[in-house]
Symmetry: C2
Subunit: 143 residues, 2 copies
DNA sequence: GGTAGACCTCAGGTGACGTTCACGTTCCGG
DNA sequence: CCGGAACGTGAACGTCACCTGAGGTCTACC
């Protein structure tokens, strides 16, 4: 039995089984079924799920993650190199996020103290910079 | 008539009137009504709405914004200094966001190339750093 | 073969932040 | 005083990423 149950994958990856089922519905992961209709996972699923979670942490939507996963070679188990390739693009994404927030901060600096908040130079009137970060710090309090 | 209709406030601030009604429901802004039950806004509402939008851009939830607004002095129209005071705290918040993403990026750097994605040093196994940024770049495509 | 615990599906809920709709009322210029 | 634009309300809808619960089934161990 080198296959894993959903509970085992959940435990090893930190993802909830409800999330695993959801991701399967979306086509992000696959499974085979036992005669009794229970899911069984290949060992490589662990890494796939880990990838999904890491990508989420970086800020990718499940849609984007699905697109990334779709570029993996079919037919063979992805190698470390495959995973590295996928995550390489994240670097630029993070850099861009940082730059975006820095810009916002600098605009804010030039704005604090005048209290203008409605002038053209404020962070306000730059709708091109949309920041919708919601990071309470511990949204999912797992383990 | 130095009061404004909801359409005028919407136009001047860039907020949709549906959002203005929603924010009023939440108690973030106030209005007086005409005899015909239509909203009329004080001029200072423009700045208040601008504050809300700026704060959202920084990443505050409407709850947090409400708490901030609640510290404004009652009875008098807020001054530029009042607004500046409120926005001063944003700076640290942005700095912290930047640091958080930088940490994530550095972890990622030490991880790319090995493709591990499931080891302890990866961005993966640091659930303390929850990043749930969703910023497609132009979520609200206004103007 | 009994049973505890893990698993199944499906429907509905959550929460943040609004938008859209249906349907009715008000405002203002001509 | 008329008509169209703007406004009002309440309810439903939408997104994203799941979670919860009900009601039933499977698996593994003793």
């Amino acid at each position: 039995m080198s296959t894993l149950t959903i509970g085992q994958v959940a435990e090893r990856t930190g993802a909830a089984s409800s999330a695993l089922r959801y991701w399967e519905d979306l086509g992000l992961i696959g499974s085979v079924r036992t005669s009794g209709n229970q899911r069984r996972y290949d060992r490589s699923t662990i890494r796939r799920v880990s990838f999904i979670r890491a990508a989420q942490r970086i800020g990718l939507s499940l849609d984007e993650i699905g697109a990334a996963l779709a570029t993996l070679p079919e037919g063979r188990t992805p190698t470390a190199g495959d995973w590295a390739r996928l995550s390489r693009g994240w670097r630029g994404r993070l850099d861009e996020q940082i730059r975006r927030i820095e810009r916002l901060r600098d605009q804010l600096d030039s704005c604090i103290g005048c209290g203008c908040l409605s002038l053209r130079t404020c962070a306000l009137n730059n709708p091109s910079d949309v920041l919708a970060d919601r990071g309470p710090g511990a949204v999912l309090l797992e383990s």
